[in-house]
Symmetry: C2
Subunit: 341 residues, 2 copies
């Protein structure tokens, strides 16, 4: 790589922002400079990348002069306001919020699945929802081979998806309960310790949560196929890192469990972990800190003609957020698309 890029990380002090800095370092991203940006209250904080101490600067309308790529993970309203400002300044934005995902002008990209959608970007590229990304990586090879008609998914989502404060809330609640004290719930509406909350993001008029509808709508956009039907139940569980998903798939053509294992074994970004006889299957604690999406418990669903059940686990902060965002930036570089048309 001859050219090196100036990269801004917006929301650099958040759970995902910090992971982005780590991923840039781990993947030796070709940057000449990293500029950590955040809101006024974080200005002056120190973050680190490739051994270099960086001082957090305030995110303003002038932050993007001379910046080639901006990685955003600072919440939807910040993205709504600042992503167009950055793009107007000639900086390509990869945004991790939900603000731009369903905008027709913005590609929604999982690099292993639809890198070609980057070709039509107009300055803002959206990173999909965490629970959607890992499902897409696992479903794409199956869709290519046998055409997916319908997906019934139930998720088991880690608290880190909500951010630092949710991680602290689970820790605090567990500590209080273990010492017989009453718990306090601030981040979530109810106790998350030793409980399951069938509620992620806000409720919509149709009774589904926004998180559930993200899985429905983002799947269609990423796969580029409006015929794929998804119904989702999204559940928060008392796990720190790693989303797990129980995925039931109906395909047009018949695939055996062995077919699916073989397809996924050669799929990019996927590791098949499916040796139940050796008690080996994907688990959140193993996926945590890893890049791949782990798939196991692959078995035929005999209740329909062409059915498959599987268990899909990935680190929601890495592949579900920071890693996928950086991979999009890398793919932009590979395809020579680091410019606003």
């Amino acid at each position: 790589m001859s050219k090196n890029f100036v990269v801004a990380v917006c929301g650099a002090t958040g759970a995902v922002g910090q992971e982005m800095l780590k991923v840039l370092e781990q993947r030796d991203f070709p940057y000449s400079k990293v500029i950590p940006l955040a809101s006024a209250r974080s200005v002056g904080k120190k973050v680190e990348c490739k051994g270099e101490e960086l001082t957090v600067q305030e995110l303003t309308e002038d932050s993007f002069d001379g910046v080639d790529i901006a990685l955003f993970s600072a919440g939807g309203s910040i993205s709504e306001k600042f992503a167009p400002i950055a793009a107007n300044a000639g900086c390509v934005v990869v945004d991790n919020s939900s603000a731009w995902r369903m905008n027709d002008e913005c590609p929604l990209v999982v690099p292993e699945v639809n890198p070609q959608d980057l070709d039509w970007h107009k300055g803002i590229i959206a990173n999909p929802n965490c629970s959607t990304i890992q499902m897409m990586v696992a479903l794409k090879p199956i869709h290519d081979e046998a055409k997916i008609k319908r997906v019934v998914v139930s998720t088991y989502q880690a608290v880190s998806g909500t951010g630092h404060k949710a991680i602290e809330e689970l820790e605090n609640q567990v500590r209080r309960l273990m010492s017989g004290q009453p718990v306090v719930a601030d981040v979530y509406p109810h106790q998350i310790a030793f409980n399951c909350l069938p509620h992620i993001d806000v409720f919509m008029d149709n009774g589904y949560t926004k998180e559930e509808m993200k899985m429905v709508n983002e799947t269609i956009k990423i796969m580029g196929d409006p015929s794929i039907k998804v119904t989702a139940t999204c559940v928060r569980v008392p796990v720190f890192y790693g989303h797990s998903e129980s995925v039931n798939i109906e395909t047009e053509l018949k695939l055996t469990a062995d077919d699916v294992r073989a397809l996924l074994a050669k799929a990019p970004g996927v590791t098949v972990e499916d040796y139940p006889e050796k008690l080996i299957y994907p688990m959140a604690i193993n996926a945590s800190g890893e890049d791949d999406t782990y798939v196991g418990r692959i078995r035929e669903d005999e209740t329909i003609e062409n059915g498959i059940n599987m268990w899909v686990v990935s680190d929601n902060i890495r592949k579900g957020a920071a890693l996928n965002t950086v991979q999009i930036a890398e793919t932009l570089i590979e395809r020579d698309l680091v410019r606003v048309p």
Copy 2:
């Protein structure tokens, strides 16, 4: 109730056995005497029922002389051996293990669903698997109204289903992790604290676990309808009490979400908790210690013509085990069936 019954509780020191004694007391079960039975190493231990201290006696071949009803929760091999001995002694057995569930001579009963199956008992009645029971209570009114064709269920099961030792294991692992120590896994093959295990009971040749196949096969037997197709993914989560289930249903006839709410609102043993706008939905921590099965997140699944998603939560030790067993005994009394034919 004129007659009072002599009741034996086999496995009286276990998690379910102790809950059975509590349920007998809470429901003022018409017993003249309760005999707590257990293996030799628990002999002499004290348990309590209706304020009376009872001394645990050893379970032997002679334990059932003069006993009317025996409630078993002492594991499959104990049930296999001693249930026929009890029945031969003229004692009606309600067995909470999986030993007799699929035996054609033994009714498999959820009192709200198929009390009539008690009429053909031959001395041994089986109590279904915990995750099946709560699903049956919620599905029966829907099946009666609209005929269920297919169910896709993913479970979120509490560690108490495994017994006292699993409760201690989760507690110990959490304490060790919170103080930075490595964890020990004895009861489960992997760490359960802050993790999800897609593995309950042993793996079968078809790739499913025995727990998953219980949900498939027991549903058919309890509903008395081999046309109902169930596919299940059973998952252990770090929750102490209360199993949660994400249930996707396809029916023959169309039901709206409101139809389902209305059906379940008048169903025995069910409480509808479905006010997402008020952040009210079923949760394990609320169901814990309660008798009912809680159903919420009821919504139409638009990916099929007649589809419903819902979230079903119940106390796995009460309705999933001890309560249902005692309710079977109560139903036997009501139907004058406390005798071995």
